[in-house]
């Protein structure tokens, strides 16, 4: 279904692209389509309406009707508006010199507060802080135990006061202990509560009145639907969060809920959780999120990941080769082994825009990757540099040598062709993924 949605969006673009010149009626039709896509991405319907109105206005202002590339222009305007709404730039935590600084995580049950607490601790530690984690969650069975285990596994501070039921007292004691033991940030995990549970919300308010929190982060599940707006509204009535953490971004949810909330509250998104491991925690990038909500693939994140994994030297080698001649299997192999050092290949493939995803879909899964490697390693040096010579008897030999089937070899060859084709195309547009900064999905 997710795939079909992405395709639906591409179809709208195609419709626009092939039009050349647009009439005002075309624009109205397209706006209706865009509206549907945004709704399917879980953006709140009121926010969708606003957004579409702004896009329509700007589109007409900028003479989309007479533009040579009306499709690109409309898409660019929408992307721009979403990005602007999401906050323009990524945002840091602000501790205002407090020592120890107090950070609190709040949210609904199951939004991922406890895991986020651990991740935030790891993130702060990487930045040179000495964080300690505490939990005021006495409701969910084993919630504290979960946090303690997370803290232990990441070597973070953890305080627990089993005798103390009052959240304010827990925080006060933790601050004292943090100070005496040299911790400079205390991250407070709280019990999950629904936005309709006033008693629990007032308990939170009490805590924020008793203590000065430098950051209060609302943890939001990226898979939340239309109700997200009400959740934010209600938390805002009781406490004033300073920002958002978006979790479960590793699902294929488009995360339209975050756009709804930010549009309504203006809260900055400070982090996103992208996996189950404590290290899978990233700074929020509005431009990437905008691409994701529009179903264009998280191209920028991907580039950053690839950049991290490939050293400067190797990068040059590949680029030189591209200028000189076509990519061969040696490069492909190198690419693949680089990919293995990226945290998870699947995670990476999932961030690619449509056509890349198709090209790489056969490579996904660690097992597949091993198979591909085995096949390439069973080729002779000549076959690797010049795959065109691989005939059926060579295929049989390669399949035999790598313990795969001829079909597997065929698939890889086909896939390699596609890979090479895309590579060339990007090179032509000077849009090499390693160089490119302006690499939006729609450009490819």
């Amino acid at each position: 279904m997710f795939e079909s949605l992405t395709n639906k969006f591409s179809n709208i673009f195609k419709k626009l692209r092939s039009k050349g010149k647009l009439s005002e009626k075309d624009i109205t039709g397209v706006m209706k389509d865009l509206q549907m896509v945004l709704l399917e991405s879980d953006v709140h319907y009121r926010v969708v309406k606003d957004l579409i109105n702004r896009v329509r206005e700007r589109a007409l202002e900028q003479d989309v009707l007479t533009s040579v590339t009306p499709g690109e222009l409309v898409i660019k305007i929408l992307w721009d508006e979403i990005r602007k709404t999401l906050g323009g730039t990524s945002q840091e935590l602000h501790f205002e010199g407090a020592n120890p600084a107090l950070v609190m995580l709040v949210g609904l049950q199951g939004s991922g507060k406890t895991t986020t607490c651990g991740k935030l601790g790891v993130n702060l530690k990487e930045k040179g802080f000495f964080p300690a984690l505490i939990s005021t969650d006495t409701r969910r069975p084993a919630a504290k135990e979960q946090l303690r285990l997370l803290a232990e596994s990441a070597d973070l501070g953890f305080f627990d006061y089993p005798e103390e039921a009052n959240p304010t007292q827990v925080v006060k004691q933790a601050l004292r202990d943090a100070q005496s033991k040299g911790f400079d940030v205390v991250v407070v995990d709280t019990a999950g509560r629904l936005h309709v549970e006033e008693e629990l919300l007032s308990e939170l308010r009490k805590l924020t009145q008793d203590q000065d929190f430098q950051e209060i982060l609302l943890v939001l599940d990226a898979t939340t639907g239309q109700e997200a707006v009400k959740v934010a509204q209600s938390f805002r009535e009781w406490i004033e969060p300073t920002g958002l953490v978006l979790t479960k971004v590793d699902t294929d949810a488009r995360g339209g809920a975050v756009l709804s909330i930010v549009a309504q509250t203006g809260w900055p998104v400070k982090f996103v959780g992208v996996g189950e491991k404590l290290s899978q925690f990233e700074v929020f990038h509005p431009d990437r999120m905008a691409s994701r909500i529009m179903g264009m693939g998280d191209t920028l994140s991907l580039i950053e990941k690839i950049e991290k994994a490939i050293s400067e030297e190797e990068r040059q080698k590949v680029e030189e080769k591209l200028v000189k001649k076509e990519l061969d299997f040696n490069d492909f192999l190198e690419e693949l082994s680089q990919m293995k050092s990226i945290s998870s290949l699947e995670e990476m493939v999932s961030m690619l825009p449509g056509n890349w995803k198709n090209a790489l879909s056969q490579v996904d899964g660690e097992k597949n990757l091993k198979m591909v490697e085995a096949i390439i390693r069973s080729m002779t040096a000549e076959e690797r540099t010049n795959p065109y010579i691989i005939n059926s008897s060579r295929k049989k030999r390669i399949a035999h040598g790598s313990g795969t089937s001829v079909q597997d070899v065929n698939r890889l060859l086909k896939q390699f062709e596609e890979f090479r084709r895309l590579w060339k195309k990007m090179q032509k547009g000077k849009n090499l993924p390693f160089r490119g900064r302006n690499l939006l999905g729609w450009r490819m």
């Binding site: 399917e40 879980d42 199951g110 991922g112 109700e227 479960k248 949810a253 189950e276 660690e366």
Partner: protein
């Protein structure tokens, strides 16, 4: 009994919110001579707000429009009831309808992280042990820190046994051992809590497939319910989840959690229509009894009463 009525009350109150807004809009439009585009759009928005999703909302609006234009003397309320009821009427709420009561039954809970699987496991264990079943819990979430402890607390609360593997053990092997143990003890039902998993993660999907196969190898299919747990606040992605998960394991039903979060009810119509899966129960609170069975007729009547 009052406790039970209280829960139904909460549930109905949540539905009431949808009912008033949408019903007023329907009735207003019906009685109006001329309806402009904007008003039709507003009806569509109301339906989206009621969690019916953009697709179904658009369809309902269009059908209603057709009805108004073609047969203005029809009873629109009847039409709406029929329409909504037709979406849910084939819902099978009963558990293990084909199962042999003499043999062990397996109820497997699956879903993405944080939807409330562990809590549902506890509530189900409670509900079934009050229906003459000899129940035990199996903690197959060996990934999330302290997940097994959480389930164990529930087990103590409910008064059933909780089977655990060693931390980090292969969940499929825990399920296997748990089933073996239950058979030896002469138990009639095991409720298996699995780790939350993103349906976009192939490795975790494969792991789930394996758990499903292990269960299927040890008990016949009619003795198994694989239940997808869905957060009532979930958006469009809930439907993608079900799609991907059913690639690796046959899903036999759905439990909707956090219903007390003012979910609007519309999601049930979408689940029926888009997934064709039966809603078995609805979680309405954190208490051990806060899981109520889903009754389609009662539900639609509540929506439209």
């Amino acid at each position: 009994m009052t406790e039970k009525t209280g829960r139904w009350q909460r549930w109905r109150q949540g539905l009431g919110k949808m009912k008033e807004e949408v019903k007023n809009r329907f009735s207003q439009i019906w009685n109006q001579g001329k309806v402009d585009e904007k008003e039709w759009e507003e009806l569509e928005e109301n339906l989206i707000q009621a969690d019916l999703g953009p697709q179904l909302a658009m369809e309902l609006t269009e059908e209603f429009r057709e009805l108004k234009e073609s047969s203005p003397d029809k009873d629109w309320k009847e039409w709406l009831f029929d329409k909504l009821y037709s979406l849910v009427k084939d819902n099978h709420s009963q558990w293990f309808s084909q199962a042999d009561p003499q043999k062990l039954k397996v109820l497997l809970l699956l879903g993405i992280n944080g939807v409330g699987k562990t809590t549902v496991a506890g509530k189900l264990a409670y509900a079934f042990s009050h229906q003459e079943e000899r129940v035990s819990l199996i903690a197959a979430d060996t990934f999330r820190a302290a997940a097994e402890n959480q389930l164990e607390v529930w087990a103590k609360r409910v008064g059933v046994h909780c089977f655990r593997g060693s931390p980090g053990a292969d969940p499929a092997s825990v399920v296997f051992d748990g089933i073996e143990r239950a058979k030896k003890q002469g138990e009639s039902l095991v409720v298996v809590d699995t780790a939350g998993r993103s349906h976009a993660n192939r490795n975790l999907l494969a792991e789930l497939g394996k758990i499903g196969r292990v269960a299927a190898k040890n008990v016949p299919p009619e003795q198994i319910e694989n239940i997808l747990v869905v957060d009532a606040l979930a958006g469009q992605n809930a439907f993608v989840q079900a799609d991907s998960l059913s690639q690796v394991i046959p899903i036999t039903g759905i439990i909707l959690t956090k219903w007390d979060s003012q979910a609007k009810g519309g999601i049930i119509f979408r689940i029926r229509r888009e997934l064709g899966l039966s809603v078995k129960g609805i979680g309405v609170g954190e208490g051990v009894e806060d899981l109520i069975p889903f009754d389609p007729e009662e539900f639609v009547r509540a929506v439209l009463s």
